[in-house]
């Protein structure tokens, strides 16, 4: 408790896919009265200007929603439009589907490692950034950068470049990787596996603030493997539902304090992303990854949002292993892509972006013109859960001074999302003494 009757913690910026945001916490008479996560990034209107574009265009265009997870946007757009056009790449060309999964693994390795090493770990070490950490622990930071680079090299080889890859198209790819390229990746990923194991061990040893929170959960799920590029939405509570019913379960609302829409799951606030995936799907991880995660302190169920960094590190290890498995099993498809001729219809798809479930819906006319587009990103879904976590978190720490409390709130926000995280560095504190 402080001597003030009212405190206003102002956090002036968080990013989503659409960038910048802020947090305000109002405390009155020792109770957290209100927590608001505002996203004030200028709206970029993707859903509006996708109308009238050709059905072939959303994969390249929606990539530009987020520079940190462009592959998630590209592959979800492809899957939704292929659904509208009646093309099932998984059934017709499993080799193409395998390469897509490999590409997505590259993004998981790159994006998660960026988050673990450059955005989140410095919080646990009490440092402003990873560059400061490098002054005393250069080898640790170099290990992280090497691992991140392995993900980026995978993206560059399969996608042409790491940010906004050019090689993805409806039906598959413009060109297939060569055997020599895959062999080079395999060597690099074999090295990366050691780095990923050490990274998991490293973050498992951090001190985790105590916070146990139950939210409703949402993640894609598959019976026999860890779901990323395909799967069925699985809600807890509620169970599985077909992706075409996504908007019936996950509904978006607009609030006055945010330009990003806020979504809920069957009327309840919910969480998607690493913790949701861990709790719903960790049994689908290979035994070796489960054992390494257990060694890093991840039990059967994880409800401490601060441990999301451990889940991310475990998922990096998994993605490296999965990449090696895909390359080992790879049989080149007969063609780089299937034709996806347009037809009138509506297509739906969801995939697991590193930050959580990403959903797209497109309505096409008979010539392939996009009549409407709906995109529900993970950050919109997680916003209410973040607000709720912060409320409990601040309530338990009212004895801290404003600077320390703000720092810890930033860290709590960075549990969720690389996009929010980067802008959460904007945190400023304003104190309103009522």
């Amino acid at each position: 408790m402080t001597h003030r009757s009212e405190r206003l913690l102002g956090v002036s910026a968080l990013a989503r896919v659409e960038g910048e945001g802020a947090m305000r916490v109002t405390v009155r008479d020792g109770r957290v009265e209100d927590v608001r996560l505002s996203i004030y990034e200028p709206p970029r209107f993707f859903e509006a200007f996708l109308r009238g574009r050709a059905w072939t265009e959303p994969p390249d265009i929606t990539a530009r929603i987020c520079g940190i997870c462009p592959v998630a946007y590209q592959l979800t757009a492809c899957a939704a439009i292929e659904d509208a056009c009646g093309v099932a790449v998984h059934r017709e060309e499993p080799g193409i589907a395998a390469l897509r999964r490999l590409l997505y693994c590259g993004e998981w390795i790159e994006s998660h490692t960026l988050h673990v090493y450059l955005l989140h770990a410095p919080d646990f070490l009490g440092l402003p950034d990873a560059l400061t950490l490098a002054r005393t622990e250069r080898a640790t930071v170099e290990r992280g950068l090497r691992l991140k680079k392995a993900g980026n090299d995978l993206l560059e080889t399969l996608g042409g470049r790491a940010i906004h890859p050019v090689n993805v198209r409806l039906g598959g790819f413009h060109r297939l990787p060569t055997g020599a390229e895959l062999a080079r990746l395999e060597r690099q990923l074999t090295q990366a596996r050691r780095d990923a194991e050490e990274a998991l061990e490293w973050v498992g040893g951090f001190d985790f603030p105590e916070l146990e929170i139950e939210h409703a959960l949402l993640a894609l799920s598959e019976p026999d493997r860890y779901a990323i590029d395909t799967g069925t939405p699985l809600a807890e509570p509620g169970g599985a539902f077909p992706v075409r019913d996504f908007e019936r379960h996950v509904t978006e609302h607009q609030v006055a304090h945010s330009t990003a829409l806020q979504a809920d799951l069957d009327g309840r606030r919910h969480l998607c992303g690493p913790l949701a995936r861990w709790n719903l799907n960790h049994r689908r991880l290979p035994a070796a990854v489960q054992a390494a995660a257990a060694g890093a302190g991840l039990g059967g169920r994880c409800t401490n949002p601060f441990r999301s960094i451990v889940v991310r590190a475990a998922e990096v290890l998994w993605a490296v292993d999965e990449s090696l498995r895909i390359i080992a099993d790879y049989r080149p498809p007969s063609r780089p892509h299937l034709e996806v001729p347009p037809r009138a219809g509506i297509g739906y798809a969801a995939t697991e972006a590193p930050r959580g479930t990403l959903y797209h819906r497109y309505e096409l006319d008979a010539e392939g013109g996009v009549r409407s587009a709906v995109i529900v990103p993970p950050t919109a879904q997680n916003q209410r859960a973040v607000e709720s976590d912060l409320r409990d978190f601040v309530q338990a720490r009212l004895d801290l001074d404003d600077a320390e409390l703000t720092r810890q709130c930033e860290q709590a926000i960075r549990n969720y999302d690389p996009c929010i995280s980067c802008a959460a560095h904007f945190l400023d504190l304003t104190v309103d003494r009522g």
Partner: protein, 308 residues
């Protein structure tokens, strides 16, 4: 538009004595991809951090130093009233201001709103458009303040970014050649996708810098680096038509990631799209007159043909 604009900005003098140059990275309306390019320079990041003081770079550090800064990198377009004010402050605080990426140099993908009714866009995306504060247009930084250098790309190229940063820190002009993607294809030894396969490609009118990735992967360039100086879009038009693009597809080709870069905007207008309604009218007239070489591709006023 040239790659660099003349250096006309006021420059606060650096502090006396020897100290590391101070670098700042700013975000406006964008996807973060261009500033992420700096963090993606895995091999160069730590050496660079040893040479400069990273005074303000929110994606990398919560540590923030007030200005003045020796070099500011600016990502994103100017799209809100607050942006207009903030970019002026950044300019005043920066000795050199370098804008990075299609958003900052040409308004970016979000400049597609410039051709539309933003209120209608807001109604499409938001149940309560009245909560949304935005400018009608998304504009490049150079519309508001003088900039010292413009680096192209959506996203920018890592090698070019490092060259620009090193050049400004060393006090020399960056070595960023003003050539088309075609030069890069030749240098790379890539067979021309248009000549060999009849694939529509904006390479001849697009600024090099990416390393000609798309043709190397068997697709045509879609212009993400924006126009090269002196882009001869007229000369390219017959080739795009020959390779199967109708007027509306050509318009969309130019109106994507660099829609408001003057050479691409002009090319889109000449190809037939003053505005969407005018575009439809003209396409309709041409179809009726039967002049068009590939009228069947766009005779339906609602129809959108396939892009490359």
């Amino acid at each position: 538009m040239t790659t660099s604009t003349p250096v006309t900005a006021p420059r606060p003098e650096p502090d006396a004595g020897h100290r590391a140059p101070r670098l700042a990275v700013w975000k406006f309306s964008s996807c973060d991809g261009c500033q992420l390019t700096l963090l993606d320079a895995e091999d160069e990041l730590l050496p660079l951090a040893g040479r400069v003081e990273i005074a303000y770079f929110l994606e990398a550090s919560r540590h923030q130093e007030p200005g003045p800064y020796d070099l500011s990198l600016v990502e994103g377009s100017i799209a809100t009233p607050e942006d207009e004010e903030r970019i002026r402050r950044v300019r005043a605080d920066s000795r050199y201001l370098v804008v990075i990426g299609a958003c900052a140099t040409a308004g970016g993908i979000q400049a597609l709103r410039n051709l539309a009714d933003v209120k209608e866009y807001a109604r499409t995306v938001y149940a309560r458009p009245d909560y949304i504060r935005t400018l009608d247009r998304s504009r490049p930084v150079s519309d508001y303040v003088p900039v010292d250098f413009e680096l192209r790309g959506c996203p920018i190229d890592k090698g070019q970014l490092l060259e620009v940063v090193c050049a400004f820190l060393a006090g020399r002009r960056p070595d960023i050649p003003d050539q088309s993607v075609c030069f890069a294809c030749k240098a790379r030894g890539t067979v021309c996708v248009t000549t060999a396969h009849g694939i529509p490609c904006l390479g001849p009118v697009t600024h090099a810098g990416c390393g000609a990735i798309c043709p190397a992967y068997g697709r045509g360039c879609y212009g993400c680096f924006g126009p090269v100086t002196g882009a001869r879009t007229d000369a390219l038009l017959p080739l795009l038509r020959r390779d199967g693009l109708g007027e509306r597809e050509i318009v969309r080709f130019y109106r994507t990631f660099n829609a408001e870069a003057p050479a691409f905007a002009a090319a889109a207008r000449r190809a037939g799209g003053q505005d969407e309604a005018g575009e439809r009218d003209r396409a309709g007239e041409r179809d009726r007159a039967g002049e068009e070489d590939s009228a069947s591709e766009h005779e339906e006023s609602e129809g959108e043909g396939g892009a490359a």
